[in-house]
Subunit: 134 residues, 4 copies
């Protein structure tokens, strides 16, 4: 992960947010879950500085999109009750992988918050597609 790439991903997420009519916050973290960049759009909620980095961290920490965690952390799910602290377990966080082959590593994550969950997911995926085609 590096800042230049993080900013390009952020730009893609913000562009998607404009398309969606949403005001979002976008966070990018590195392999260790530490913040690399953050942007909160004009008009986006003050929960963004908490939730967007949280989703990005969670996507790295659990190595999967946070959208997959909603079911897993719901009552009866395998990770029931996980959430809280740095763990944000609903859609909008996406892990960034070093490659597409078996055995690739998670080397960062992007997290989006501020729109509906569907909008957050769309924006995070727009960011992630910049990563994949880097």
């Amino acid at each position: 992960m590096n800042l230049e790439l993080a900013l390009r991903m952020t730009e893609a997420a913000v562009k998607q947010a404009f398309r969606e009519g949403a005001a979002i916050s976008v966070a990018v973290v590195d392999e260790g879950g530490n913040l690399v960049s953050f942007q909160r759009m004009e008009g986006a909620e003050i929960s963004g500085p908490v939730l967007a980095p949280g989703k990005a961290y969670t996507a790295v920490a659990l190595r999967r999109p946070t959208s997959e965690l909603a079911a897993l952390t719901a009552p009866g799910g395998e990770l029931a009750g996980l959430a809280g602290g740095r763990f944000v377990c609903f859609g909008g966080g996406v892990p960034l992988r070093s490659g597409h082959a078996t055995g690739d590593r998670v080397v960062g994550g992007v997290g989006v918050s501020g729109g509906t969950v569907a909008q957050d997911v769309a924006c995070a995926e727009a960011a992630e597609s910049v990563w994949r085609t880097r």
Copy 2:
């Protein structure tokens, strides 16, 4: 609880993880819920340093395997809403008891995180069986 025994338990958990093809973190805590040992295997998630000690603490704090807490902490359950902070309420944490007779005490706990919950439970139980046959 002592370090030598904690390390033998950890070794058993790690050996089980290799058998399962999982990369895990293993934590052992004492009677006070305070960490005695922790190991994160090569390639295991960075959530391990949070979740494995959390499961070990929770197993001591509530004196039962964390796998039993899923139902209890679900909506309508006796401990609904408990999870969060140091409480991790899904499988992978096992309390360590001083004996098998009635009235025995919980004198420590082991917590495993990184595999599927079933794998985590299997690894924690491998650790606990070292304890039982100490």
Copy 3:
């Protein structure tokens, strides 16, 4: 405060860091102390995501440059013992004011961390001068 201006301030801070030969993190917060933007340069310390937003918050919260807080928070000082939590009480945080007249308000803050304190202050002031001449 808005994102566009926050990014221009950040750019000025980063440009100054290159001049100084430092690798820094830059945070900009709004009137509520909530993060608007954050950037960590390639090679900057992982303390940046904690200290830069902390300095920006502190500059808003106490309405003065954090460089002035060293004496105030020292033993015997008026704010002795303040540091900790979100309060970072050494140089690198600067409040952003709505005007130059008496009675103007603090409407945001910038915080820089990663270089020496003198470098951090220089970078934060470079950001603040963008604000003043906006």
Copy 4:
């Protein structure tokens, strides 16, 4: 950083502690400040699980031995008032560098707590010398 190396470093620290007649906790963290291993010796204080990982994190986060931070964080020092949260700013934490050439990176840290600060430093340095001669 990897677990096998972390355990060898830990062993060296514990061996030094026996020589010093101290009972210590030893933590090793990776580049992102996330825990890789932790051991608390028989009889060591329950502050160890907080302070040893804190020192290891701090050594990575600020890229210097925590023993250098005592003066820097004292009243009048450049980082006056830093401490609290994950930052532990007295001796016993040492950063681990990827090489000896200019431009080498900090890729982990070791933290020791439980003895006098001089003992903690000696134990952390024993661990670090394993790293340097790896």
